[in-house]
Symmetry: C2
Subunit: 349 residues, 2 copies
DNA sequence: CTGAAAGCGCTAACAG
DNA sequence: CTGTTAGCGCTTTCAG
């Protein structure tokens, strides 16, 4: 099967390669009649149109942006928040006839080479830890980059909210109700396999911007009411692992001095907390108050008090930043405390 | 910023372009020492490694497979079954250092050109109607294709189950309980905007393999017990639209001779049916029995009787077919009737 | 182990 | 409106 190229058709029709190219890419540059003849021959020869790779090499543009996702892609497909972000990006780039290339980053340092090989015009990075090798690889390629939620770079636009302030807001709300025994459930703080109680010095070295800032916000609030950092228990549940959430909740509730409020740093964790509590027969907010973060679709039906942040809009903005010339945001995006039914005054001991 | 290419580095180091290329792509083809010197210079000059587009043009390989999804991507991101499929594909291709290009197909015939422009080594098509123009476009490009669930082509591997038999199985189960007044809820049958009751001749022209086969399976079963096709009501709820599901259920229940069993052709529809029934205070299976299809994660907690099919495995297989040399399946994949709590004997009128 | 030649398939820029 | 020239950046021969 001799490959059919522009030249093949040009020869067949008896015109130059250029006219055939134009017939496909610039219809108004040649007579309707000639164009028709060319297209007819192309069709007969089974020519599928200009090879996109060759066209990209020539034109310097690919028509795709890469989305850097850590862990296996499977993870991204399971997290509702990540999905909402993705959907937003997809929507925005779709409007510019651009496709989305999902680029899974394997744990090792092989990710640099994966980034190098990606056939894209730019990247959006997605809840990556600071200093992730993939970021450097993007920088070296000198491709446009937008980071969402983290890390925050000085050379690339950033899309995200003031995590710290938001966390402080929701913690303030809980403290105002009178709670002083808090359990904080966070997702991964450092890119390692540690789970369980998070010691203060670990927080100092935290590389995931989102969890780090949210935890700082929580502590801002607790300190303000005179609580010592040691008095607030922080549990790392890794990649929002349901089993770890359940165990942490059960263990803490079994202590002589159990928490009266659980601050989950994501709705996904909070929903798991709620399920665990329901199974254990613990009333919410009667016995324990619970808060989330993100305001997923599932949060409202669950009556979850949480922080709303515009996930889909964030994705959309990230996509636009890469495909159009919208101005990068100068500010952090807004968030909002959404009061619902899972927070009340503490149970009287 | 003069672009840095292989040549730039070759000139700087004083070797030929080829040696620099080898330093990156075939480390064992040159002395460790020279390689080190080349890499050092490359690093100093900020060279990110061979341009993936040029390399693709030369090598004929891109390192990405495209996933053809109809409608907006947003839809694919909302359907749990599609998501499971996607996750499976992602997992499989990730193992071959291949990325996933999401290719949304717009309604019009523009989809041919979108397929032509996709920078990929192959495609997997995903619940597409028969004769979708995108399929022809893939054929013309002579790229490998795997179809999942539909359509079934004679020139491309197919991954899917025996929909018809599976539907017959679950319908048999319902009929065996004694049900004769059935309401069948199906998703889109033809690629148009029709919704509501599906007439028999419409079924004959159905272009979506999955819904068509499942409906035929249902009718196989009902005919076998002597029911006339006219006696089983089939409702098309489009893209599994919640509002249409709810309305269909409410309308049918309000009739003088309401259905005693509702056969939903997907779990997503079935779950909506269950929610509607709960709102209406109708007991399941006391007043109405309900069945689903797919066995999503959410099906077990809901106690839904359904057909299990290996969504993630299907995706994985599709991905492998495109990136490795596994043999294409010669058979349809297995399915299994999963009995749970939503089917019982009919309510005595 | 290293280098020179020969394109992969396409299109911008310009001349006819 | 049509054709010619000149590469985009890389890697597969096949000799040194």
């Amino acid at each position: 099967v001799g490959k059919v190229t522009l030249q093949t058709i040009a020869d067949e029709v008896g015109v130059s390669r250029m006219s055939v190219s134009n017939a496909f890419s610039k219809p108004d540059q040649l007579s309707t009649e000639l164009r028709a003849r060319i297209l007819e021959v192309a069709d007969r020869l089974g020519y599928a149109g200009p090879d996109p790779v060759a066209r990209s090499l020539r034109g310097g543009r690919v028509g795709a942006v890469g989305v850097l996702v850590t862990e296996t892609l499977g993870y991204a497909f399971k997290d509702p928040y990540a999905l909402a972000l993705l959907a937003g990006i997809a929507e925005a780039v779709g409007e510019s006839d651009t496709s989305l290339l999902l680029v899974p980053l394997p744990p090792g340092s092989r990710s640099a080479s994966i980034v190098q090989q990606a056939v894209v015009d730019g990247f959006v990075a997605f809840i990556l830890p600071d200093n992730h090798p993939a970021i450097d690889a993007v920088a070296t390629r000198e491709l446009p980059l937008v980071t969402v939620d983290g890390p925050r770079l000085d050379w690339a636009p950033f899309v995200g909210i003031d995590e710290r302030l938001a966390a402080q807001d929701i913690t303030d709300h809980v403290l105002l109700q009178g709670h002083r025994r808090l359990l904080v459930l966070t997702f991964r703080v450092i890119d390692d396999d540690h789970v369980g109680v998070v010691a203060p010095q670990r927080l100092d070295h935290a590389t995931y911007r989102v969890s780090r800032e949210r935890l700082r916000g929580v502590l801002d609030a607790t300190r303000a009411v005179g609580l010592d950092d040691g008095e607030v228990t922080i549990h790392d549940v890794g990649d929002q692992r349901a089993d770890l959430v359940r165990r942490a909740v059960r263990d803490e509730l079994a202590r002589p001095d159990p928490p009266t409020a659980i601050i989950a740093l994501s709705d996904r964790i909070a929903l798991e907390v709620l399920a665990t509590l329901a199974d254990a027969g613990a009333a919410v907010p009667g016995q324990v108050s619970v808060t989330g973060f993100d305001d997923l679709e599932q949060a409202a039906p669950a009556g979850l008090t949480t922080i709303r942040q515009p996930a889909a809009d964030k994705g959309r903005l990230a996509g636009q930043l890469l495909t159009t010339d919208v101005a990068p945001p100068t500010d952090l995006l807004p968030h909002r405390l959404v009061l619902r039914a899972t927070v009340g005054p503490p149970h009287q001991a």
